[in-house]
Amino acid sequence: MSQSQEKQNNKGLQWVTFRLGDEKYGINVMQVQEVLRVAEIAPVPGAPSYVLGIINLRGNVVTVIDTRNRFGLMSKETDDSSRIVVIETASHIIGILVDSVAEVVELHTSDIETAPNVGNEETSKYIQGVTSRDNELLILVDLNQFLSDDEISELDMF
């Protein structure tokens, strides 16, 4: 492999990191539109359990996903550190509720390892990989796989 190819394959990407429980996660900074303090989230009757509700973001309705529920974690009351990260997936703009937003880090492709996936393909496909950072592991989330096509279709009904 030529040096230029190697450099291309090892390009740096920036990731926004956030916390959920004891773990730290990263999402591609290019897909993050903004980070909001938690204001009123209006519940949607009949919505699936992973949908917390909707918010009004400058006239646009944004569905907020309960990320703890999505990741199989215990629910937790929001507090001063809680944030809604507004992200752009392949087809939608959604908000994900996280315990706190930490920082933006730059990672090289070579730093990222595939997470051992021993679970159901469908449920864990959004785990893009893991990397070591400041003596802890950072779990990288593929936002384009965060919701399935069926789930995205469901969001259109709100």
Partner: protein
């Protein structure tokens, strides 16, 4: 060596007893596991703990517990022939590490493992994985997947009775490739085991990781390569 007619019923009886014992221990039932009979617990001397984090295969064997095989013969009746395809390590004397997981004492060859680690360091949980996958631990540049051995072996229903916060695992055995570690309650000892001391299973369609039983101690011999999942990448 031929099996005398007088010995044959004795061996059959012994194998039936072993089958019943293992079935009782490993069968997934919603009830608590009965304690192993007294002979399942090594009596004396107390097993020597091995130093942690040193490569296991380089450790000198302390108090080698060379097991006696006086009651067992290599030849089995036709109904209990050992597997045609055995792991390489099972075909001659091997050093096994004995460890405890809940009520079970298990053994596996040292060559399948690289080192032991103590619990207490941060384990990163990966979302939406099976409950037997406890998370990842970074050690020596590898991201080791920690497996709840109790759940893998006893099944989820029995292990759900265990509260890992109140009764946490204390040690883990890291596989030779460094991809996985088996959580356990205690590393007991390292001892030499000869093939004659083991009653090898003849059929591994169910529980393929259970390869046999050290007869004198009623210790299940685990084939780690069949117990750990195949790692997709990483």
């Amino acid at each position: 060596m031929a099996v005398s007619l007088n010995n044959a019923p004795h061996i059959l009886h012994q194998e039936l007893a072993l089958d019943t014992y293992l079935k009782t221990l490993l069968e997934e039932l919603p009830v608590a596991v009965p304690s192993p009979p007294p002979e399942a617990t090594p009596a004396t001397p107390p097993r020597t703990l091995q130093p942690v984090t040193k490569p296991l295969v380089k450790n000198p064997v302390k108090q080698p517990q060379t097991l006696k095989a006086k009651a067992v013969r290599q030849e089995f009746p036709p109904c209990a022939l050992p597997l045609a395809v055995m792991p390489e390590w099972a075909q001659h004397e091997f050093q096994a590490i004995f460890f405890k997981v809940g009520p079970l004492i298990l053994a596996t060859p040292l060559t399948e493992l690289s080192r032991t680690l103590k619990f207490g360091r941060v384990i990163t949980k990966i979302p939406k994985q099976p409950s037997w996958f406890m998370g990842l631990l970074e050690d020596q540049g590898k991201k080791i997947g920690i497996l709840d051995t109790s759940q893998l072996i006893l099944g989820k229903s029995k292990s759900l009775n265990r509260d890992l916060i109140e009764q946490p695992f204390k040690s883990m055995l890291v596989t030779q490739d460094g991809n996985w570690a088996l959580a356990c309650d205690e590393v007991l000892s390292i001892a030499k085991v000869t093939p004659e001391q083991v009653r090898w299973r003849t059929d591994r369609q169910s529980r393929p990781w259970l390869i046999g039983t050290v007869i004198e101690e009623l210790t299940a011999v685990i084939d780690v390569s069949r117990l750990t999942p195949r790692r997709k990448g990483g």
